[in-house]
């Protein structure tokens, strides 16, 4: 089966600023694909390229097996013929139209007759719980309501592909959690393929069945979220993903042993090259002790958050910073001395340039 979206060798520059430096992405039909990356990494640019709102410098894009843009042949299908919907970061509701008119206009453009439009509007209002707000102008709607109108507007003509650009970033925490559920429900009910952009990794992990991590205009890693969590390809992915994200500690080879913060670590693992490396250790594999002992690293507790069954602690020391997820901590918090125990082996090791060694 052909991919719902296939992006190949996508490059886009703005003046001297490289927004995308050669990106490949595959999105399977019906999947919920999340593009994740820090602000400015090119997510919006990629989404706009898929939508046809931006032209590539190099590369091609296929939607449902049909080439919609190819920089080498100059072929491009205009945005309006790509049969997709997009929810913009600021929603981009037309401020002079009521909610109902906003939803109705694309249906009218699609050529539906009055009765069909009426029926579809009612259907969408029910799906997104909008019935009481239909006659209001966008300026009179709350953020969450505006967002649901924006989603209804682009669902109206039954697109096969929905694009979302950080749709939840303007909402408060509680609403955000609710809307996540809504989106998953929507995805389940409509079966539409979704490409969803966010910089929030917990949101990405909650929503994605396919995750693409972007950084500085390049794909760092793509795949099933659990694979990215357990087998990160780069230090960046390791340090970016997870709740809380994994620790990355610098280990140097000295006096015939790998050392973190001066203490020998992972004895017998000489195969990591000879430069300093970045060692990934998950927070739940670290422990804190109240008393010093051989092999423990001295640290200062920066923050200790009780989570019930466990405590989440952030510590600092000669090794750098680390996050520890452990059984309830009864030692001092904020400013107290503590002693960090490392596991015998790391979860992963990365070279200084971020590439994975083991």
């Amino acid at each position: 089966m052909s991919a719902a979206v296939r992006v190949r060798g996508m490059k886009r520059r703005f003046g001297r600023q490289v927004a995308l430096g050669g990106v490949d992405v595959d999105v399977a039909p019906g999947s919920f694909c999340v593009l994740l990356g820090p602000s400015g990494c090119g997510k919006t640019t990629l989404l706009r390229l898929i939508a046809g709102l931006e032209a590539p410098d190099e590369g091609r894009i296929e939607i449902d097996g049909r080439c919609v843009v190819d920089a080498s042949s100059g072929r491009t299908v205009p945005a309006g013929r790509r049969k997709l919907g997009m929810v913009f970061q600021g929603y981009a509701l037309w401020p002079h139209k009521t909610a109902a008119e906003n939803i109705d206009w694309p249906l009218r453009i699609a050529g539906l007759d009055r009765a069909a439009r009426r029926a579809r509007l009612a259907e969408l209002a029910a799906l997104l719980d909008l019935a009481p707000h239909l006659e209001r102008y966008p300026g009179e709607l709350s953020g969450g309501q505006q967002q649901r109108v924006a989603i209804a507007r682009c669902l109206g003509p039954r697109p096969r592909l929905l694009l979302f650009d950080e749709p939840l970033s303007n909402l408060d925490v509680q609403l955000r959690a609710e809307m996540r559920l809504e989106l998953l429900r929507l995805h389940g009910e409509t079966g539409v393929t979704i490409v969803y952009v966010t910089h929030d990794q917990s949101e990405a992990l909650a929503l994605a069945d396919h995750l693409v991590v972007l950084r500085d205009g390049r794909v760092e890693q793509a795949g099933v979220p659990s694979t990215l969590l357990t087998r990160p390809h780069t230090a960046f992915v390791a340090g970016f993903l997870g709740v809380p994200p994994a620790n990355l500690l610098t280990a140097a080879h000295q006096d015939g042993a790998w050392r973190i913060g001066g203490k020998a670590f992972a004895v017998g693992c000489a195969a990591w090259g000879d430069g300093p490396v970045q060692v990934m250790i998950r927070p739940e594999r670290l422990r804190l002790h109240e008393r010093p002992a051989a092999g423990l690293l001295q640290a200062v507790v920066v923050e200790a958050t009780p989570l019930g069954e466990r405590t989440l602690a952030r510590v600092e020391g000669a090794f750098g910073r680390a996050t520890v997820l452990m059984p309830p901590w009864v030692g001092g918090s904020h400013g107290a001395l503590a002693y960090l125990a490392l596991p015998p082996t790391p979860d992963a090791v990365f070279a200084a340039d971020g590439g994975r060694i083991t």
Binding site: H96, P106, G139
Partner: protein, 577 residues
């Protein structure tokens, strides 16, 4: 900035009780706006007034006095409005939304005609197009080159209309461009994604969003065109082409003010009807502006093969309405005779000693003591009116803002904007009637009439200044320990200063370049540059008039430059890529 935070912002006067402020604001508006209107109404309610109304509307003279001029006024007003909205709107679209080359230069030039007074453009028109109607000496450049323009192009309805367009399309541009500049690119992208054609996007999304600005621009252009006195006076009177304004002027000059008032009341009613229509469109529009919000990055529309043709057409338009008239006036003032720009140039009209052979012994304007006085009086009138108008604007604007949304605030705001409807000529006439016994020929009367005429601009600039200040900014200064005075000096004034200065310059320039308002207030003891130029022109001393017009041009452009009026702050969309 949210509307809530702006409405809490304060511009000085924090300690004034709202009631005092409100009463003060209403008193000022009553004195400046209602009193002259009431004066006109009362004058028409007298026996003489009733007789004048009868004469004007049904009498033997009605056709010549009212109906024909009314027809001219309406035709000119509608033609000018249509042309200005189309030209100003197209220009605004080209500059803000397309990839037209040279759009920055064109945008800057497009704001300039606003600074060139209509009477100067009208004079420039005669320099180029005049035929021998006013004598051999007065013929224009074209006639001298042997291409004598047809009569309809030299005088009357067509040149009056074109001259008014040349001045007013800039206002339309300056009102429409900001509206277009806030249509976010995502709003248009969202429409394009649905598969809508370019025409559908324009009709369904872009046009409705700028419709309020179009309506407002159209209404203002109509009011200005219909009430203009200087253009028809210079280009119409030589061929007995009259509008309501020139008829009213004639009535005042010949000592029948009631007839003048009757004509002026007609003008006001016509303009009011149109402005009310526009205000309705605008009220719906204001809620959009806040909803559209931020994020106004725009992808420019590619014009393709039309890029250069459109740029050249736009450049021709802005050049023809700025550089060409200015140049015509400068050259004419240096020429031996008006329009004889290829003759032997001399500085006589600027620097010459009195010569009985030329212009009845008038010296060049720079050595004419009367002109020196006029220069100083004009400058003083601009400065005093600017400061007073801003002071009144602060009281009224502050009161409107503090009253919030109720009927009282709406009433006050509508009263404050009423002068837009009242022709300058009418304001001048009414103030003479009102306070003439006490103040006729005094500087104070000029300033008071000026403040009344410019009140809408002053109130608007105060509103714009307030919008610069979020309540949080002042509050954080107070939390940092600043006293009320410290907040005012340290935060409020610096933030508001730019917009207030812009408002001052607007009023100053209007005062320096305006003829309609002051033509009736003029006395030989109180010379103002515009009236001096107009007198020179009517006395047949065209080049002196042109030289004075150049001085006025330089003054108003210098004032704008000094206030950074051509900078990016004035047209922020020019700075975008």
């Amino acid at each position: 900035m949210t509307p809530a935070s702006t409405s809490r912002a304060r511009l000085g006067g924090r300690s004034l009780a709202p009631a005092v402020l409100t009463v003060g604001a209403f008193a000022l508006v009553a004195l400046l706006v209602l009193a002259p209107l009431a004066h006109i109404g009362l004058a028409l309610a007298t026996e003489a007034g009733a007789a004048a109304l009868r004469d004007v509307f049904t009498g033997r003279i009605a056709t010549n006095m009212l109906w024909l001029p009314l027809k001219h006024t309406l035709l000119i007003g509608l033609a000018v409005t249509l042309a200005c909205v189309v030209l100003g709107g197209l220009l605004a679209w080209l500059v803000t939304m397309t990839d037209m080359p040279l759009r920055r230069v064109i945008g800057l030039l497009a704001a300039l005609p606003f600074m060139i007074p209509t009477f100067a453009v009208a004079l420039a028109w005669t320099v180029i197009f005049a035929n021998d109607r006013l004598g051999e000496a007065g013929i224009g450049v074209l006639a001298r080159l042997g291409a004598e323009p047809p009569a309809w192009l030299a005088w009357g309805a067509v040149p009056v209309t074109l001259v008014l367009i040349a001045h007013l399309y800039a206002i339309a541009y300056l009102m429409i461009a900001p509206a277009l500049a806030t249509v976010g690119r995502d709003l248009i992208a969202a429409a394009e994604i649905t598969g809508a054609s370019r025409a559908q996007v324009l009709k369904g999304v872009v046009f409705p969003l700028v419709a309020p600005a179009l309506a407002a621009a159209g209404a203002l252009c109509f009011a200005e065109a219909a009430s203009s006195f200087s253009a028809p006076a210079i280009l119409g009177l030589p061929v007995r082409f009259h509008t309501l304004a020139t008829r009213a002027y004639g009535a005042f000059e010949t000592g029948s003010p009631e007839r003048g008032y009757a004509l002026i009341a007609t003008m006001i009613v016509v303009s009011a009807a149109l402005l009310l229509l526009a205000a309705r469109a605008r009220r719906r529009g204001q809620s959009f502006a806040t909803a559209a919000g931020k994020g106004v990055v725009r992808a420019r529309m590619a014009l393709g093969a039309w890029r250069w043709p459109l740029a050249i057409a736009a450049l021709a338009l802005v050049t023809a309405t700025t550089i060409v008239p200015a140049l015509a006036l400068v050259l004419s003032s240096l020429s031996p005779q008006s329009g004889d720009v290829f003759g032997a140039w001399s500085w006589h009209y600027w620097l010459g000693a009195p010569d009985a052979a030329i212009a009845r012994g008038q010296p060049g304007i720079l050595r004419n003591p009367e002109l020196h006085r006029a220069f100083i009086v004009t400058l003083a009138a601009g400065l005093f009116t600017g400061v007073s108008a801003l002071a009144v604007g602060l009281v009224v604007g502050e009161a409107i803002a503090r009253l919030g949304a109720g009927t009282v605030a709406t009433t006050l705001r509508q009263l404050a904007f009423l002068p837009l409807l009242i022709p300058g000529l009418a304001i001048g006439a009414a103030f003479i009637g009102l306070y003439g016994a006490l103040l006729y020929g005094s500087f104070a009367l000029v300033v008071i009439a000026g403040v009344a005429a410019t009140l809408p601009f002053a109130v608007e600039s105060v509103a714009a200044a307030r919008a610069q200040i979020a309540a949080e900014l002042e509050e954080s200064a107070r939390l940092a320990g600043a006293g009320p005075l410290g907040v005012l000096v340290g935060v409020t004034l610096p933030l508001a200063a730019g917009k207030l200065l812009a408002g001052f310059v607007l009023v100053f320039v209007k005062m320096v370049r305006d003829l309609d308002l002051v033509i009736l207030l003029y006395t030989p003891a109180l010379p103002l540059l515009t009236v001096v130029a107009f007198r020179y022109a009517s006395d047949g001393f065209a080049q002196f008039a042109h030289a004075v017009a150049v001085v006025i041009l330089v003054l108003s452009i210098a004032a704008h430059l000094a206030a950074g009026g051509f900078g990016r702050a004035a047209q922020p969309w020019l700075a975008e890529r």
